[in-house]
Structures are given as C-alpha cells and as structure tokens.
Symmetry: C2
Subunit: 417 residues, 2 copies
C-alpha cells in the first residue's frame, strides 16, 4: 500500500525529523519513505494528512472500561476497597471480553495502537485484542498477600498464562510478568517474578509508589522503599515498567536512571484520585499510561499527554516538561519501555507500519506554527485513520476490526451500578 504525498510525517526518528510531502510505502512493515514512489496497487491520498507513529499506552487495566463513572470521589485506598474490588468480584469472561473491546475502540479512535495491560482473565483480553487487531503486552496480576501458601500458585498461574499467549503465535500479542505491587506481593513472589521474566525474556510491569502509604508500609515492614526492594530482588535486571512512581526519592530516581528502569506516568488518574504528581521531570526513562477508565475516565492519550506536561509545570516550573518530551514518552520511549523499539515507536523503514493519520484541517491544528505543540496542547484526539502492521483498523473515524455498536449495546446490558 502506498500512502501518497503525506503532508507531514512526524517520524519520531533519532533526528526528530518532520518530513513534508513524502510517500510511505508499506506492507506489514514500512518499506520505504521517499519522494514520488511509484506503485500500482492500493494508493491512499494523504496530501491532507499528518502521519504520526501509533501511540503506546504503557499502563492500563482495560476491562475496567466497564466501570466508567461508577465512583469518582474517593481516594485510591477507599475507592479500591469500597468501589472497585466488589465490582471486580462480579466480572466474568464475557464481560471482560466486551469491556476490553470497548477500551480498544476508545484507544483506536484516539490513535493508540499498542498497550501494556495488567488485569485478570488475560485469555479473554487476548481474544479481544486479536479481534481488534491491536498490539499489546498482557499480564495477569499476581498477589499472594504475604501468604507463602499462595506464592507458587500465583507464579504457576502466570507461567500458564504466558504459555497460552505464546501459543497464540500472534506477533502482536505478547505476555508480560505482572506482580501487583510491594503492598500485595511477598519477597518470594517478587523474586520468582523476576526469574520468570528472565526465563521468558519478558518485561516486568508493576505498580510502584502510587501513594505515600504504600511507601511508608514498605519501609515499616521491609526496612526499605519499594524501588530499592525491587532492585534488591532482581526486578530491574529485565525490562522494567513501574506504574505511577509518585513517591520516589532521589536515590530511587538514580537507580531508575542508572538501570534504565521506566516509569509509566499516569497524570490524570493520579490527579483524579488525589495521589500526587510523578517526578517525571527527573526521570530519564519515561513512558506514559492512562491507568484504567475507572480512575481517568478515558483512554485518550492526547489528553493524557497535555495534562502530563501541565502537571509537571505545576510541580516544578515552566521548564519541567515540554511537548516533545511527552510525545516521546507516548511513542519511541513507550516502545523502549516494552523492548519493542526495533518494531514500533517511530516511522522508519523496517519498522511495523503502526501509523495514525490525522486531518491537517482539524480546527484544533490551525494555524500550524508547530505541529507537535498543536498535537499535544490543542488536538482532541479525533484521528481519521489507524493502521496496525500495515492494515487499516480505523478508516474515516470508523473502526473496521469490530462492530462498535454491538459492543456499546453489550456493555450497557451489564449492571455495575
């Protein structure tokens, strides 16, 4: 397929090139970017489009789209215990499947092509991802609540889930290892998680320092802060994505920056639950996530990126964060966090064609003095087309890979009020 005469291509390559009026030749991969490429089969006129790499959401619990708006006014601990866990107890496989498709619809319609998820019923999320044709990492959250009788069962279950996902032989759907947090996992479970990640060469995805309470309890129980604990137990040997990272001290930030540990910054969810602001400015390895819809309440990374910059400026000053850095966190750095920077995250020959097309004439993108600024600070996320692995999954604002109307009907038939 030839994307002909793209008005702007925001490559996110090493040189941060923004190319004008170029063609992109693709199959599943990007074959060539150039001038006047001639090709006989399918040609798409992109003279009125801005092309960006598909966005990467590095921290999600996607079936929780089912819980949109059920509870908005409690802080994390009360919200989880009083509002979320009782509802999660009612979930079944069908609900998870349809809730996941709702979430994927929302991601696709706002330019996200890849996500990093931690939840339950992983097989059903994988089934939905296959249907939606999305790229993802899926992990089944592990916790033993410091009960050593449960530790091995959690690890065994995770390994089983990993093998199920590997057996799909779907290049786009990958497993990850997801111990829940320092609050819910014993040392033994964390060590075994680390070994599991090594054995299969998978990323670790874990909650980290989302509240002060979490940090204080870790110090009280274990004599060290969560990130030091994770380092000591081997979790930073592999690819590491810590979600939130709000209460990190200088020493912990140094560990992350030295060990190439990524933090997935979740500005909206952290503010909505009044948890605090991540020290994103200080972090060398930064990706971004929405967290779940239940605490956000959407999966629109464009909104997340804007608020991500704004919160850093509130925490520090106007120089703390800019549009370029936050856009990196949702593209090439998201790919690096997951270890797939050779596959996606920028528009370069040889990478998968995960591409998002945006109308140049969108009112929020005009006048156009600075494309990145307009995308981050002004655009509302309504993209026109999305390709994953060279295949259109959204065309003219319509999802092609599944019937959205049917999903809306289904999710409204469940009752989590």
């Amino acid at each position: 397929m030839l994307l002909k005469n793209c008005r702007f291509i925001v490559t996110q390559n090493e040189k941060r090139e923004i190319l004008e009026n170029r063609d992109i030749l693709i199959e599943d991969k990007i074959l060539e970017i150039g001038n006047n490429i001639s090709k006989k089969d399918e040609v798409i006129d992109c003279s009125n489009k801005i092309v960006i790499p598909g966005l990467i959401n590095c921290h999600t619990h996607i079936p929780m789209n089912l819980f949109r708006g059920v509870s908005d006014d409690k802080n994390l601990q009360r919200w989880l215990k009083e509002e979320i866990w009782p509802r999660e107890a009612k979930l079944n496989e069908e609900m998870v499947y349809y809730g996941s498709l709702l979430a994927m619809g929302e991601m696709l319609l706002t330019g996200t092509t890849c996500f990093n998820d931690m939840y339950f019923f992983t097989e059903n999320i994988a089934k939905a991802a296959k249907k939606a044709k999305m790229r993802c990492f899926l992990g089944c959250a592990m916790f033993d609540f410091f009960d050593s009788d449960k530790t091995d069962a959690e690890i065994e279950k995770e390994e089983k889930e990993i093998n199920k996902i590997l057996s799909l032989k779907n290049e786009k759907i990958k497993p990850s290892v997801t111990p829940h947090s320092s609050e819910t996992c014993s040392d033994e479970l964390l060590v075994k998680s680390s070994k599991l990640a090594e054995k299969y060469n998978l990323p670790i995805h874990i909650h980290l320092s989302e509240t002060e309470k979490e940090v204080n309890e870790c110090i009280k129980q274990r004599g060290k802060r969560p990130l030091s604990l994770f380092e000591d137990l081997g979790l930073l040997k592999n690819r590491f994505v810590g979600a939130h990272g709000i209460y990190l001290n200088e020493a912990e930030i140094e560990i992350l920056n030295k060990k190439k540990g990524f933090i997935a910054y979740n500005p909206c969810s952290n503010a909505k639950l009044a948890s605090g602001i991540c020290s994103a400015k200080e972090l060398k390895y930064l990706c971004i996530g929405t967290d779940s819809v239940a605490s956000n309440n959407n999966l629109n990374l464009f909104e997340e990126m804007k608020f991500g910059v704004l919160l850093q400026r509130i925490k520090y000053n106007v120089d703390a964060m800019n549009a370029e850095r936050i856009f990196d966190s949702a593209t090439i750095n998201g790919a690096r966090a997951l270890g797939i920077e050779k596959v996606v995250g920028s528009i370069e020959s040889g990478k998968e064609a995960d591409l998002v097309l945006i109308d140049k004439d969108n009112i929020f993108l005009n006048p156009n003095y600075n494309i990145i600024s307009n995308l981050i600070y002004s655009f509302n996320g309504v993209v026109s087309d999305v390709l994953i692995g060279g295949e259109f999954v959204v065309r003219n604002r319509k999802i092609l890979s599944f019937e959205l109307e049917k999903i809306l009907k289904k999710v409204n038939s469940f009752n989590f009020s």
Copy 2:
C-alpha cells in the same frame, strides 16, 4: 421547533434534574418541556441525544487563536513581553475578524455558546460574533500604565466602544468594562472603570492575582493586595469577574464570597504558564474560562472542566471539587457571573434556547452510570449540534453560520511565526 423525545436533558435547574425521554418546544426561547408535546412544523428526533445547556466561557482573548503554538515554554511575564506583545503589535482588523471566527468555530464545535472576552479591535470581534451568531460580552482592555495623561483617553475609548456595541441592538452581543489589571491600571482608571460599569450597568472583567509578582508589586506600590484594592475602588459594587484568582489570601476570598464576586478559573492556561492553581475550592462564586489559545492551547471547555477538577484535587484533596460543581461553573454559574442567569445557563421554560446536543452513543459516554461524570471526565467535547437562541449554528458537527474552510485558509495566510 420541537426537539422530540430527548433521551436525557441535563437541565442544570435548581433541582439539578436530569429528565429522560422528554420533548423541548422552542422558538428563540424554550417554550415548554414535557411529554408528548404535539407540534406540526419542524420536529427533530432527539431520542439518541443528550441535551445540555450551552456552555459559557468566562475568560477569553479570542483573536489570539491566531497565535496557537507560537510559544509554549515561557512563564507569563517573559511570554507576554517577548512573544505575545510583539505579535499583537502586528494585528489588524482583518486578522482579528478571522482569528475571532476561528475561535468561535472551535467554541461552537465543543458546545460553547457564550463567552466573555477582553481584547482590542472590539468592533471586529462583534462583527465576527454576529456572523457566528454567538452570545458574548466584549470589552476593550484598558491600561494607562500609571500615566495620568492616558487615563481619560482609555475611559473615553471604552465608553465609545460600549456605545458602538449597544448601537448594534443585538441582544446576544453585550459590552463589558475591562480594565486590564492592577499591574497596568492606575487607581483613577480603576475608579472610573467602576463608574462606567455603574453608569451602563455592565459587568467588570479584569485580571486578578495571576502571579505572585503581581500581588507583591501591588502591595509594594499601593500598600494592599489587588482584590482589596479593587474593593476599595468600588469594582465589586457591580457584577465582577476576576480572571485567574490564583494568589488570593483568606481575607480576599472572604471579600469575594461576601460581595458575590466571581472568579473565572483558568486551569489549563495557569498550569501551562506555571502560574499556579486557583483556590477554586474556597470560592462560592466560581465560573470557568480557557484564557487565550496562545496559552491553553484550545477553547474546549470539556477539557478545561476535567483539568479544573483534577488540579483542585492536586492542590487540596479528593473532596476539593467534583464533576457537578465544575459543570455548574460552566453553565448556570457562568450565567450568574455575567448577570444573564435569567436568560441562559440552564434548560428551563422562558430561557433562551441555547442548547447543545451530544450523541448518546459516543464511545466516551458508555457505559452510562453517571452522565455528568461521563461528560466531565471522559467526553472529548465533540458535540453533534448547537442551537443559540433557538437557531441551529452547528448541525451534525458542521458549522452552519460561517464557512470554516475559508477561515482556515485565511488564518494560515497570516504569518506570526
């Protein structure tokens, strides 16, 4: 016209009623809200629509849409002096007219029907508002920079502008009195502004305590803080809208709450310029604004409302602000701030039919456990239809009152890089 079988009507009336499956009969005003109203002429099926009152943006500088993305990384003082004022010096009437229409397009497409503006070339903004068929208050910013030779000329110019606007005899376009701020206006100019507002019974619209520097200079020069100064000089006798209100102390908050002085909260702009967070939680009389696109960088009040809640939770705690209160600030309380609460701000018989229709099946509004929550925290602002004074100005996401394509071409032909 009959809006038939509206699925939900979020009235914003005293009882905060959300009506289901009702009809709204309108001419320029809302004539009746009820069941099975029969009418023979134009009937609009709204069985798949959520109807809300048109939103009110209480602090704008709308021609500055021309400066979207020209400078994003400086704090207020440097940004104004180095980036904005030199560009404003190049503005002419044509630019202001087209920049205003661009801004109005953006407001209409995101459900804003009324705005409160402070800028220059007021006549040209009025011309654009007439074209766009929007409701607004317009003021020409006054400043004498403490030069007593300039004071009377500023007041005379303002009075002339007021009379020009009044002579339009357009019920939707009203004047306001807009001394710029304590930083730029002498006591005499502020006193005379106050008298001008009294003479014509108009709202005062002024910048207030946007930075610490502004407050400290006021104390140094005048021995009191800006709000106390304004009170002493009579500015709070009339309707009063202070924009920003970030650095207010307890005594000032008490004055505002006692005198019914409104603060227009500008969360995005205040965060982007790293100015700080308004004490919105403490304020009894709260409306909301976007400030200009140059520091936001859009006029989407849905985004503003979400960040408005989130920032309060960062400043205080999870109880500081909720979806209902911020929605009030953009509807009925915006109307109260401008003194037009008997005209607009809620959906009630006798008020003008400023109505916004939103697709119930929008992915961000499903599942639907809490409409207000979904509108504030999840929705991206893409409304389907907008009526002002009973007339469609947006229909099926397309602006009817002017040609957007032409405006985009025009604004891209100007050069403010």
